[in-house]
Symmetry: C2
Subunit: 359 residues, 2 copies
DNA sequence: TCAAATATCGTGTGCGGACACGGAGTTTAA
DNA sequence: TTAAACTCCGTGTCCGCACACGATATTTGA
């Protein structure tokens, strides 16, 4: 291996191999019309010199344009998918000069038909790559079949569908994130404590992610034999009926007097926090997911004790970056990427948020 | 504001402003020889079109070379500074084609004279920027005075010296990281518990960081009025005398029988873990700093309960990146950057480490 | 009034790589 | 035997920008 520094150019390789720049280029892109003798000479020099192309010059010279499409749920300000959107936006900016153009397409996460509609319109634009949040399993499978037929590469974000030919997946290990939530919530909990687990009915089906988190949660309880030491109370919220939900909570607290912890597996722990505040039950331990502004607010106030984060903006950013690495830079990439599970508390939220904003 | 996409070139600006490319260039780099009328016309179009230069083309065209020097402690494999080194290496690779060359200079962190020596040799090479781990306060101040005289910009990493004209600082908020360690360690600790705090004598002075962490730790205790509920036992280790340290620990455990937690403020909690394992005292809560391989090993085994991480590789990487942003890309940067305090446990260490390796 | 100095500006070249084009040499077919 | 087809490969142009060079007004001084 040669020195790492000091840039070696195609021109240098050409001289050393005794051919012209064009021939080196042909070897590099193996696009034929090269004699075996020339090819071998060039290949040898390439290896000896440890050549790596100047990606800046490459993108500058390349006339090929890349159109990427992102397919994920629409959102209101402050909701989870806004963070994902932000990550895509950042990537768009960074890779613009590499001739990458990013288009975002939103669908209604409670209406599978809207996904079908949007995905069909995406096909017509013949993109160079697609990034999908596979909320709707069957519809997504049908969509990626079409993509496969057109040999359009795709990546999953947030969750994934096994046994498909995706480029990358970035998302949380949901099971483990439920497991760890249990540990944080139930750590040193006195015997006989009552724990409230909130599920939320969605207009559509229950999301796969919250289901898996819940499994991880109960798995921790079993592994640590907490089943009969703790008393788990399950309750069900309705998605958009906050006053009804408040009433449900109120009843639970009226009927039970050893409640020490509450948990929910979706990203809307702020609504729980709000209700607990209204009921003056801020002494129970409360844990939730994702760093929505409202969640952070209650974390700082101490009403929410822990939030588990998953860097959704990075998920989006890296998804784009990796597709560039594959298609443009021809680099190796990792297919399955579980995000770190960030444990946030009142004491470390400040630096975390600040850092994320400046990166 | 105009459309974001679709690249606007200097040539486009020139046409729209009715001048030549050269004039636009002169305005962009405000290097004079432009009439007020032309300047105004160009400036107006620049704003209207929301022009942003193609950084790829700029670096490609620029003949200026940037030599950056990193000045930080030498290390053995597995030690803390190896992570920093890794971050610098990554940055070197990424910015190589932007004409940036990075040289690393190591000094002995226990010998201020070695810092003076190395820093003097750095001055002679007339670098374009310097990154410093200011372990030795006075010597560093003297060094940055010289840098100021030569108008060489510099950044701090790991810790910083106030009231100096550094470009950026990346590092942990040490006080807060001690505070949060206390919270994790002392959470739900029964009254009367004994807590062992280990300090380590260094051949040189005590490091400023571990001192500040300890202050944060005690500050948590005071704020939560744990002073008389808990019994803090202070012990002192010697830096390189492991068998002596084991003996010290042994005596402590012989004389005290309610020890429930142990903490150290440097990055070598693995040595504590090792001793506790030898003494069969693995049921005490144990907490430490930084994700050295050995620390991670004991965390996975459950002997260490928490590690607080600070992403040292990112610190180095961002330090370089920000200097590039300032000198080459002329972008705005943030001066003081506290790293997130990552809370790692057995349950989330795996994904965290994996993710960091693939980024 | 005319040369010299100055202010202003356009043009050309190069950075490293992609790719189109076409030239030179060789093989095939008629 | 000669044109056509094919193989192999060098050259030229362009990508967007930086910067040197020198050209063209315009002003100044004597």
């Amino acid at each position: 291996m040669a020195e790492k520094n000091h840039k070696i150019r195609i021109k240098d390789i050409a001289v050393l191999a005794g051919v012209s720049e064009g021939t080196v280029d042909r070897v590099l892109h193996n696009r034929g019309d090269v004699s075996d003798r020339s090819r071998e000479a060039v290949t040898k020099v390439l290896e000896e010199m440890n050549y790596s192309p100047n990606l800046l010059a490459r993108s500058l010279a390349s006339k090929k344009n890349y159109n990427f499409v992102c397919l994920f749920p629409s959102f209101e300000p402050g909701e989870y998918w806004e963070c994902v959107d932000k990550g895509f936006k950042q990537a768009a900016l960074e890779f613009l000069h590499h001739n990458v153009h990013i288009e975002k397409k939103y669908f209604n996460q409670f209406d599978s038909q809207s996904f079908v509609c949007v995905s069909e319109s995406v096909l017509k634009t013949e993109p160079d790559a697609v990034f999908i949040a596979p909320i709707f399993r069957n519809e997504t499978i049908s969509f990626i079949n079409d993509l496969n037929n057109l040999t359009i590469p795709y990546s999953f974000i947030d969750s994934m569908i096994e046994n498909t030919d995706f480029n990358t997946y970035y998302g949380q290990n949901s099971f483990q994130s439920g497991f760890i939530a249990a540990k944080l919530l139930l750590n040193s909990m006195p015997d006989g404590s009552q724990i409230v687990v909130i599920r939320t009915k969605r207009k559509g089906s229950v999301s796969n992610q919250t289901l898996t988190r819940r499994n991880g949660f109960y798995s921790y309880i079993q592994e640590n034999h907490l089943d009969n030491k703790l008393n788990i109370i399950s309750a069900e919220f309705n998605n958009n009926d906050e006053s009804g939900n408040l009433e449900i909570l109120k009843q639970i607290f009226k009927q039970n007097h050893s409640i020490r912890a509450v948990i929910t597996f979706n990203s809307r722990v702020y609504s729980l926090a709000m209700h607990l505040e209204a009921l003056q039950q801020t002494n129970v331990r409360l844990i939730g997911y994702d760093l929505l502004e409202e969640n952070v607010k209650y974390l700082k106030q101490g009403i929410v004790n822990y939030i588990i984060g998953q860097r959704p903006d990075k998920q989006a950013y890296f998804t784009v970056r990796d597709m560039c690495r594959k298609l443009i830079f021809r680099q190796e990439i990792n297919r399955i990427n579980y995000m770190p599970m960030d444990v946030l508390m009142k004491e470390n939220i400040e630096d975390y948020v600040q850092f994320n904003e400046n990166i």
